[in-house]
Each structure stands twice: as C-alpha cells, then as structure tokens.
Assembly symmetry: C2
Homo-oligomer: 257 residues x 2
C-alpha cells in the first residue's frame, strides 16, 4: 500500500486572488493534497492580529479548477485558526505554507507581516510551517525563479520535520537565485516618514511611509544573503523571551512599600 | 541645576478612555513628564498590525486636566510610530509604557496583544519599554494593587535602563501581589472553539473563542508566577531568530535543478 499523500494548508496575506498564492499552490500540488484558506481582501501589515470584536465568515470558492479553496473575512492568523478548527478539524495538516508574499519579509518585517504571522500561527499549532516572500511588491511580480526553491524547501520540511517551537522564514531576491543561506534576522528597523496631507475640510491626515535602516554589518543575516543573490532562510521562534536578560533582571530589587 | 525630568510615552490597546491607561498615566506623572498617544477605539488582539492601506488621524484631546493627550485612529503600533515621529519628533522619550491592559498578556498572548506590540515597537525605536497587564478583562477592573509595582518597575527601568533589543512584559495577578518574579514565557496556546451561529439569511458566521492550554510544567514561567500570586516580569525580545536551530538547518542540502 502506498503512503498517504501529505496534506498541505496554503495561506497568505495578499488575499486569495493574489498571483503569489497561485504559484505557491501550484508548487504544493506536486507534493500533496492541498487546501487553501486565505483572506478575501489584502491583509498586508496585519502582523499577528486576530479578530475578536466581530464575527468571521469562511466560504468555499472556486478560483482554480480542482483546488479546494476557502475565502475568509479575517486576518491571516484567523485563516489558520479557522482552517485548523473548521476545515481540517481533528486531522492537522502535515505542512502549512504561507505566501508567496509580494514583498520581502526579512529582518524586522517578520513582526509586521501577515504572511509570517500565519506561518507562526501554524507553528503554534505544532504544524511544520514556512513563510515565503519575494522581493517584488507589485501585482505583476514574476515568481518563476522562486518555484524550484519553494518546492525543494517544502519537500525538505516534509521529509525532515522542523524543530519544536520553530518555523522557517524564507525570502527570495530578484534575478537568478544562487542558492539558500541559513541566516539570522538582521538588526534593522523602519525609520518612519509620515506623509502629511490635508483633507478637503482642512484637517491633516497621515500616510505611513518609511525607510529601511540596517544597523547590522553581519554577513550571517538575511539582509546580507538577499543582497548577495541568495535566498535567505531564517529559523524563527515564537518564544519571545530574552533568556540572556534574565540574570541581570534577577539582580534588581523591587522594593514595594 | 536639577536634572531634567524624564519624558514618558504612555500608550495602550484598550483605547484612550479605558480605566487602565488612567491608572498608568497617574503613576507615571510622579516619575516624569508624560505624553499619552492612544487609539481612539479598542484595539485588543491587533498584535503588531500597522495601517498601510488607509491614512491615519491623530488629534489632541482633553480627558484629564493638565495631561497632554492625543487620540489616534490606528493600531497601538501606529500610535508609537506617530508619537515618535510627529509628537516627540527628534527627542525620543526616555520611557515607553503600555497598558495597563484589561486582561493578561502572559505566555503566547504576547503575540496577539496590541499592548505588548506597542511596547515592542517602543523597543525597536531603542526606547526602554514596558507593557503592563492585569488579570481582569472587565471595564471595572480594580488596578489598586498594581499601582506601587507599576511605579517601582518603571522607576527601576528609568534608573537602570534595559538591555539592548529587549523590553519588559509585566503581568499582575488578582488579589494581594506577593512580589515580582523574573520569568520566561510559558509554553501554551489557545485551543480554538469557534462559536458558529446563523445570520437571518441562513448563512453561518463564527465568533473566535478558545481555551488556554498550558503545556509547560516549569516553575520559572509567567503562568506559574501568576498562579502563585506573583507579578510576572518576562524580558522580551524582537529578534525572533531560533538561533539554536541554525546548525541543524545548515546540515540540509537544497539541491535545486
């Protein structure tokens, strides 16, 4: 008897009709039985938001022939929660892949990214999970060069599993991809430059814009890898404890009268 | 000449009129010059979301006499970005405090919490930052027992600073607080139990509900501390790299044809 095909949950944050998720689901079809649960509208920058003040909708849709797909009114993290609870039910998927995001989610972007937060949620559910992102935020982004790497990395995860409490953050550069580098998250931030405008009633409003500021000269970072033509692969965890800071804090005394 | 008073940014996720932020700003007034920038509506569960698809509003409001306050149309993280860029401008605050949240943000809740994400954003901006949360999610929560600890912990941070790349996640139990324990984030998750209902048009919708599942028997966790009557203090970081997983991944080969 042949081994059962793995089941794969496909999710994203750009919305269910984004070209990036089409590439991802096509590549995953060669690896297993896929189910897509994705937001019905773009959810970039939603981070690890969940919907608690209003109810959620989830409905089957037909977009690509023979692909089981559901659109969800919530955030990327809501999609994973609903998928696990209402679509997969007891039988968890063998893999959760998120993306391919139109735009990089390297470095500090892991925190703001709905794509990565969906993968983090998969990992919290003990599902081996990967977020994929590509350095082109346009709708017309050409994901061709990413395809073999997406397939290969997902195959490796299906074969080897992933260490407890971790997931993978994979980013692809434009152009020919030289290979995959295992990296750490670069120390960087966004320097905001709010774009101030006046509405017709003479009240100001602000568009969030910014400049990516790299504070890290390390050659073991995701930024370095991408700048040198490699795909970056950062093992990522959801234990946010700064374990190294515990001893120093234990030396503080909290004298409360 | 006396030393200049420290400047303190006060933010939250329950909204600018929540009782928790009133307690926090009152305690901070004894420590420095405060400026409050908080959401104009409740933003619980917003995680590290930022607003990119629509513009933001920020306006001065008078709620408490003699307190400089601004309400913001965005997420808690947007509030910190706007505060740093538009209110404090070049001169960064000496401290960023977020809360006091109505409800705990211990363990895995650090990821979903707008309160904690605001503090994380403060830390990304290299501002010593603390998130405070209390084990009572009701509007009428009685924060009295938290007050001296909030003041003491903030004073210590102003005096000692915080290790680079870290911030503090402080949670308070109900009842008498025995003291402060420095902890790690407990391994736990939410087991979802979506509450399915039918709308008047016979279409289903779902409320996100869940049960907190603790997988961690350690006595060095925030859950343990809170269950034993202590305030928990977890040093938290925004480098999400699973550094310990790097060597194993380096042994994988990514053979892409």
């Amino acid at each position: 008897m042949s081994k059962q095909k793995p089941t794969i949950l496909v999710v994203n944050d750009d919305g269910i009709t984004a070209p990036g998720i089409k590439v991802l689901l096509e590549e995953m079809q060669s690896l297993g039985k896929i189910i897509v649960v994705a937001p019905d509208s773009p959810q970039s920058g939603m981070g690890h938001a969940i919907t608690i003040g209003k109810p959620l909708r989830i409905e089957p849709v037909t977009i690509y022939p023979d692909v089981e797909m559901y659109k969800c009114s919530g955030t990327p993290v809501d999609c994973v929660k609903l998928a696990v609870n209402k679509i997969f039910k007891g039988r968890k998927p063998d893999l959760c892949v998120s993306g391919i995001n139109h735009g990089l989610n390297n470095s500090i972007n892991v925190l703001y990214s709905g794509t990565m937060s969906a993968a983090v949620e998969g990992a919290i559910e003990s599902i081996p999970s990967i977020g994929f992102s590509y350095d082109d935020h346009t709708f017309d982004a050409d994901f061709e060069n990413c395809r073999p790497f997406v397939r290969e990395i997902a195959s490796q995860v299906l074969k080897n599993g992933i260490q407890f409490g971790t997931l993978l953050n994979v980013n692809f550069p434009q152009g020919t991809i030289k290979g995959v580098k295992v990296c750490r998250q670069a120390d960087a931030k966004w320097a905001e430059e709010f774009d101030e405008r006046m509405d017709p009633y003479n009240r100001p409003y602000y568009w969030l814009t910014g400049k990516f500021v790299l504070n890290d000269r390390g050659e073991d970072t995701d930024v370095w890898a991408l700048n040198h033509g490699f795909a970056s692969l950062v093992p990522t965890q959801f234990d946010m404890t700064a374990h190294h800071a515990i001893p120093q804090l234990n030396s503080w005394s909290f004298d409360v009268k």
